[in-house]
Amino acid sequence: MTEAPLRNIGRPDRRIDAGEKVSGRAVYTTDIDLPGMLHAKVLRSPHGHARIVSIDASAARAMPGVHAVLTRDETAAIPMPVYGYFIKDQPIVATDKVRYEGDIVAAVAAEDEGTANRALAAIRVEYEPQPVVTDLERASDPDAAELFEEPPVGIVPKYGQGASGELRPRRNVCYRFSYETGPADAFDECDHVFEDVFRFSRMHHFHLEPFVCVADWSRKDRIELWTSCQNPFPLRKEIARIFGLAENRIAVRVPYIGGGFGSKNGCKTEPVALALSRLAGRPVRFCLTLEEGFLTNTQHAAILKVKTGVMQDGMLVARKSEILLDSGAYSDGSPLVAEKAGYRIPGPYRYRRIETDCYCVMTNTAPAGPFRGFGGTQTSWACESQIDMIAHRLGIDPYDMRRKNLIDLGEPFVPGESGMDSDLRAGLDLVVRELGYRRRGGLEDDGPVKRGMGLAIGFKDGGGVNKPALARVKVSTGGDIFLQCGTAEIGQGAHTALSAVVAERLGADRSRVRYMPVDTDHTPFDQGTNASSAISVMGQAVDRAALAARAQILDFAAGVLDCPAEELDLADWEIRRGNEAHPLAPMIMGHFGGTGWEFVGEGFHKAENSHAAPLEAPCVFWEIGWGGAQVAVDTETGLVTVEKLFVTGDAGRAIHPLVCRGQDEGAALMGLSQALFERMIYDGSRLVNGDALTYRVPLADDLPEDFRSVTQEQGHGPGPFGAKGMGEGGMLPVASAIANAIHDAVGVRITELPLSPERVLAALAAKDGG
């Protein structure tokens, strides 16, 4: 490799999508328009739980402008009309029952959305309402109604040391994940055992681009699908399974995605649009409204019961946890989230004993699925709140308590796991410095307004499990570089970062690289754009592909120049040999003639499987979000003002510093709004704030007066140039840091999100009363 300074890595130059995005030319799925395209709309259940007695769609079918109507009568002819990750339980349209308000009952494809909506209004459905299940803690009571009387088809993946899973372990629970390690009697040796319960609220992703696809199945043996989906290859596989088609008959194309935050994976709009397109024999566009987005995928509300055994000096010994995840009406990604929540609940600390059970509880609410943090947000909230609580109970400063127990750099999190790849204490000390962290009582109060500071460390295993990634780099005669890989550009800047890696390896400017459109017909296989894996997993495949292309180019030149390849270097599409420069284009034309040649490098990456690792593969990298907050609590109104918020992540190596910064800050603001106000409010099975006007997301004036982030580059990542993934870590520490700061300010502990004025006042009143 060249010793020259890097020309593409670590530079904050314009992202490769900047020109298209600031000019309005960027193409999203919402912009796709095909000749003869119809528009789909769906009829949704007004009941939280009901049997469907009858559906009469005859009037809708007869309406002018209506080209297809989809009900359970039509889906009966589809080979496998259900989907889901581990458990195939979600029907394309409802069959025997509806299980949440918003469940899809019927769909129409018409000349325009207005006609489709009028046709839906003409469909008569007779329901027989059933009792609803909405309480996580009572869902398994013997008298609770059952969402699924019959077990849906499902699998439990293979786990490694200490981990296990189970389908339907009890009533209305679709999945359990458990993990244990260490001696079972470890609690006996503890000086203290503390048990606390934490409640976590539920948010919607609120991606601005709606769930949308354009499906063309007008020819019987060919599907073309444009979709706002971050996992095109798994989607292709699922569609092939559902409709009984060969995968090489299905092309999934992913233009720019207008945000997802976890939601845009797996089947969402696609099965309905495809089924309608087949019936109508025309392309169908199916674009949900933002309101429908709330009914399509959400974060998991949770109850986390955490029991921690500790020595008098603050040394952690054992942690036993039980987590209930509100999975909503269908399993979606819940079992995967359960694995991660169950695995991450100990936090980045050293224990002798860990024991966790995590349950996916089905309720008559919208299906929950992957959400930025993927279970880690829930567990960081509980873990980092409890660490502070224990510190206070023992009379230890929370900073010292953390420092004493953090895993060392290189130390495995649990047996069989990969070593910690960040210096956790260095990150914590950075927060302390940047925040000006002072121990209790060090801040000035303002009459009834009291100030306090809190720290937290969010933690998750990043990079995903079982994620084989392939990439291809082609270089033309003139030195134009084509990068083909399946990572979707969902806003995270992956196309920019991956292109920079390729350019660097080929001694070119990044502007020479074109990131080719993601199309499953041409793009090499990839498991999906998720789990902060773009740079850490795909990045390794891309890096290898670029190095393979480079090696081919040097070998070719070595043959032409009749010298060993080791003597040669590649820069600006010239072969450098000592002081000589040999332009490649004439060399290639001279050798291949005609129109020239393309060098093609392939790269592959997959983490080694290991049964010693609990999740069957050691974690790719550890994604850490350190955070600190200073709050002012108005003891008269209960209002919490976050005066300072500081977050820091470890990029390993920041391929593009502004992209890294944007990831951490965007994530941190999501954490802030979840801490203070943002949540989906359910009244029984009814979502009462599922629209843009009543569901509050943060605006620019919600930013704390002092809001900063620092991207550390500790250099231990597995990705190219030592990079690690980003994008989720910044969210993880925020809620608990704020709750810890509130405790520091006014001595009350709030264990339920959001940290609203009502809750603060109630806690203050309880404290004064007690």
Binding site: A18, K21, S23, G114, G662
Partner: protein, 165 residues
């Protein structure tokens, strides 16, 4: 998409400085007219409830949520959308500032944020921090955490002042 129940009538306005003569219906939103008919697809629809501002265009210089403005309301008005900001293929100073500061991620809010900034700077070439936050708070960005957008607005103001005649 024209609604069959709603007859069409003529509409004229200027779009990005050029006159437009078209036909529309009473039920057509300005955003749909621009996206489907005459403008290009840079105007993005998200909430369609006049909340998020993704669909912002300037009507006689005023930022409006085009999802919630009827097309007929712009009769005789000057409408400016994102596609009209470039000058001979050159990004406007505001666009360039957004590009250089990476003040976007998914890009879905970006057209609206840029037009909002254009309107702010047309009114106040040197806005203070409070004014910037206040203006940017009329639109939603779910991705960036706003900091980089605020920096881009400050940078855009600087660039415009420096290049002002």
């Amino acid at each position: 998409m024209p609604d069959r129940l709603d007859p069409r009538f003529d509409l004229s306005f200027t779009l990005n400085g050029a006159p437009v003569e078209t036909a529309t219906t009473t039920a057509t939103a300005l955003a749909d007219l621009l996206r489907e008919g005459c403008g290009g697809r840079g105007t993005r629809l998200a909430c369609e409830r006049a909340v998020c501002g993704a669909c912002t265009v300037l009507v006689d210089g005023v930022p409006r949520a085009s999802c919630s403005v009827f097309a007929f309301e712009v009769e005789g008005c000057a409408v400016q959308m994102i596609e009209g900001l470039e000058n001979d293929g050159e990004l406007s100073p505001v666009q360039a500032a957004f590009a250089d500061n990476s003040a976007f991620q998914c890009g879905y809010c970006t057209a609206g944020m840029i037009l909002l900034t254009e309107a702010l700077l047309a009114r106040d070439p040197d806005p203070d921090e409070a004014a910037i936050r206040d203006w940017i708070s009329s639109n939603i960005c779910r991705c960036t955490g706003y900091s980089l957008i605020l920096e881009a607005v400050r940078d855009a103001a600087r660039r415009k002042r420096e290049t002002a005649p």
